[in-house]
Amino acid sequence: METIIEMRGIRKAFPGVVANDNINLVVAPGEIHAILGENGAGKSTLMSILFGLYKADRGEIFLRGEPVSIDNPNDATRLGIGMVHQHFKLVHNFTVTENIVLGQEDRANGLIQLEEAKQKIIALSDQYGLKVNPDSLIEDISVGMQQRVEILKMLYRDADILIFDEPTAVLTPQEVQELINVMRELSNEGKTIILITHKLHEIKSIADRVTVLRKGAQVAVLDVATSSIADMAEAMVGRPVVFDLQKAESTPGDVVLSVRGLSVYSPVYKKNVVNDMTFDVRRGEILCIAGVEGNGQTQLIEAIAGLTESQGEVWLLGENISDDSIRERNLKGISHIPEDRHKHGLVLDFKLSNNLILQNYFEPPMQRRMMLNFSNINEFSASLIERFDVRSGKGIHTNTRSMSGGNQQKAIIAREVIRDTDLLIAVQPTRGLDVGAIEYIHQQLIAQRDQGKAVLMVSLELDEVLSVSDRILVMFEGNHMGEFDAATVSDSELGVAMAGGNR
C-alpha cells in the first residue's frame, strides 16, 4: 500500500501516565482517516507529535516514504501538514485575510501587500466551496465561518495533510453537514485528512478507515465501510455499549421552576445576552436548553442560580426568589451541577471530602458550634464516594486536582443529587467525559426525574439533548426560539431553530 504518513512505534510518556504506547499509524494518500478514542486515550498527543508540538520518546515518522524529524509546527507546515485546533487560533480584531496570511505576509518596502493574498484566498474558497468574506473581521463572523478560515489557513500554506481536532464540537447540525461536504471535496482533490473525534456517526458518515486508541494503546484499525457503529464503540470502550437509554414516559407534575421575562444585560457586548426568557419546568420532566455554545445558556443558568444579576422574575415552588442570595436559593431547593467544574464546581486544592461538603458544611451534623465535625464529614464523604462510585487514589483524602475529569464530575453530581432538592440544574453534565461516565450520568438524571424532581439541563450535544430530555427549549442569541417535544422533533427542525430560525 502506498502511504503518505507512517508513524512507527510511537511512545510518549508524561509523568505518571503513558499517553502513547507503541502506536503505528498508517495513512494512505487521499484517505480520510479517523482517530477514535475516549478522552485521555492519547489522540491529541499523537497528533501533537505529528504536528511537532511534542517530541516522541521513541518511534519514527515517515512522510511520503521518507523518514522525517518534526521538531516544531514550522517543520510540520514546511512538510505540508496543517492542523485545525479544537479552539481556533485566530486574532479577533483582524480580518479574514489578515488572519490567513499571518506569519507569511507578502511585503514590499516594509509594507504588507494583501491584495494578491486576497485573490488567492478567493480562488481557494471557490475551489473548495469554503464560503468566506475575506474582508470581514473574525469577531463579526459565525463559529462555522471561523472554522472555514482555519481550513483556508492550511490550504493557503499548501498543506496536503489536514488534521482536524474535534471539528464538529462547536457547530450546528447544518454546519456539520457543510463541513462534511467540504471534507469530501478536499479528499476528492487529493488532500489527506486525519479526523480526531469521539463521535461515531461522524466517522461512519465520512471516514474511510479508523484507528482506535484506548488508554494510550492502539487497539484496532478498522475499515469503516465494513464496521458497524457498535463495533467501533466496543473497540473504543473495551466492552459492549448500550446506546438506547432505558427511559419511561415522563409524567410532568406541578411547576417547580417558573422563569418570567428573564433578561441578563452584558456590559461587554452592550446588549441582552439573555433576552426576555419565559418558561416552566415541572416535576418529573427533564427540560433541556439546546443551542450552539455562547447563545446565552450560561448566563441564563447563572441568573437562575443567583450568580449573575438579571431583570425579570424567577419563581421556585410558587415563591418569588428573584431577590434571594445564592445561599438562600440553594437552601430553598436548587441543586446546581455547574458548567465549569474547575471554575465553579470544585475547589481543586481541597481534598475530596472538603469538596463533598461544599453545600452543607455550615449545617449540622457537618458542624457543631461552628466547628467542623470531622468524623461526621468523613463518614458522609465516604458514603457518597461509595454510593456514586467516585474513584480516587486516596479516598476522601485525595487531592481533588489529581482526580480524573469523570470522577471529579461524579463527585459534583454526588454532592448535588444527595441534597434531594426539588430542582436539579445540570449544565453540560457530560462535557469531556468518556462513554462509560456519560452513560452513568444520564441514568442519574433520569433517575432524579423518575423520583419526581424537576430537571433543567443545558447541553450542546444534540444526541444528548434528544436522548435524555423530555422537552427541548432552543436558545439563539439569548432568545427563546421555541419549545419542542423530544420524542417527535427532528434534527433539522432543531437545527433551524439553533441557527436562528426563520427570522
Partner: protein, 381 residues
Amino acid sequence: MKRWWQRSALAENELFVSSLSSVLAIVIGLLFGFLLMVVVSPSESIQGFRIILTGGFNDGLLSVGSMIVFATPLIFTGLSVAFAYRTGLFNIGASGQLMMGALAATAVGVPQWWRYEGELRIAMDNPFLQLGSWHWVAALLAALLAGALWGLIPGVLKAYFNVNEVVATIMLNYIAMFVNSLVITRYLFNSLIGRAFSVVPTALFPRMGMENIFTDGLRSSQANVSFFIAIFFVIVIYFVLNYTVFGYELKAVGFNRDAARYAGMNAKRNLMLSMMISGGLAGMGGASLYLFAGRNLDPVLQILPQGFDGIAIALLGLGSPIGVFFAGMFFSSLKVGGQFLQLLSFRIEIIDIIISVVIYLAALSLILNRLVLYVLKREKQ
C-alpha cells in the same frame, strides 16, 4: 507495600517535600554567607560561621531573651502575611499595619498628649492612664484595632471596587508612614529626645519575672509577655484555619472565589474579614515592637522593615502558622547572632546578605521543590 521512609513515598508527601525545600533554602543561604566570610576574612571565617550558627545562644540566656524580643514582631507579621495568603490575599502592607498598630499603642501608652488652641500648644493628660494595671491591655487592643482598620481599607477596596490588594497595601504603607510622622510630631512629640514620649510603665508589656531568667547577672533582656501572646495567636490562627467553619470558608474563598460564591458563601464579607484579621495581627506586631522600656516611636520617614520580613517568614514557614513560628525564631536568631559577628572584623550586613539569599531561595522554593522531587524520584538505573 510502600514504607513511609522509602523515596517514592516521601516524594508523595507534600509537607515533607516543601519542608525539605525550606531547609535547603536555609542551608544554601548559610553556605553562601560562609563563602562570603571566607572571602572577606579567611582566618576568622570558621569562628564567624560558628557565631552565626549559634545565633541567639551566643551569650547564654541574655541573648536568648533578645532573640525572643526580636522574634515577636516577626512572628506577628509572618502570621499576618501567612493568614492572608492562605485565604488568597497577598498582604504586602503588613509594614503599614504594623506602624499604625505601633502608633495606636504608643498613643494609648504615653503620659500626655498635645492639644492646640490656635497656635498655642497645651499639654493634656492621657485619659488611658486611669486604667492602671490594665493599661497595657488597652494599648495592645488599640494596636490590634488600628492594624485591623488599616487592613480593612484594602479589603473594602478589593471587595467592592476590585482594586488589587497588592497595590492598595503597598500604597497604604506610605500613607501609614506619613500619618505616623504627622501624629507623632504634632500630638505625641517629646522635643527633648526628638521622638514620641516614652510609654508609661503600666502600659509596657509585663515581663512576668523573665528579667530574672534571661539575664547574665548584670543586664537582663526585655523579654516580655508579648512573646506568649504571639504564640497564643499562632495557635488560634492554626485552629481557625484548620478546624472551624469560618476557616473552611476563608480557605474556599482563597483557593477559588468563584466556587465559594457558587456554594453560597459571602466572598466579599470573608475577604474583608480576612484582611482585617491579617491587619490586626500585624498591628499587634507593632505593639510588641514598642511597648517595652527604652523604645520610642520615631517620626523619621521610614517604612519599618518588619512587615516585609513577615513576607519572607511566611514564605519560609510555608504559609502555616506553626512554620511561621519557627521561621520567625530562625530569622531572629540570625539577627542576634549578627550582632556578635561585630566582635570579629565582620560587619553586621553579612547577616542581611544571608537573610536575603535565604529569602530569594524561599521565593524560588518551586525550583527547590522540583530539585527535592527529582532526587527522591531518581531511580537507580
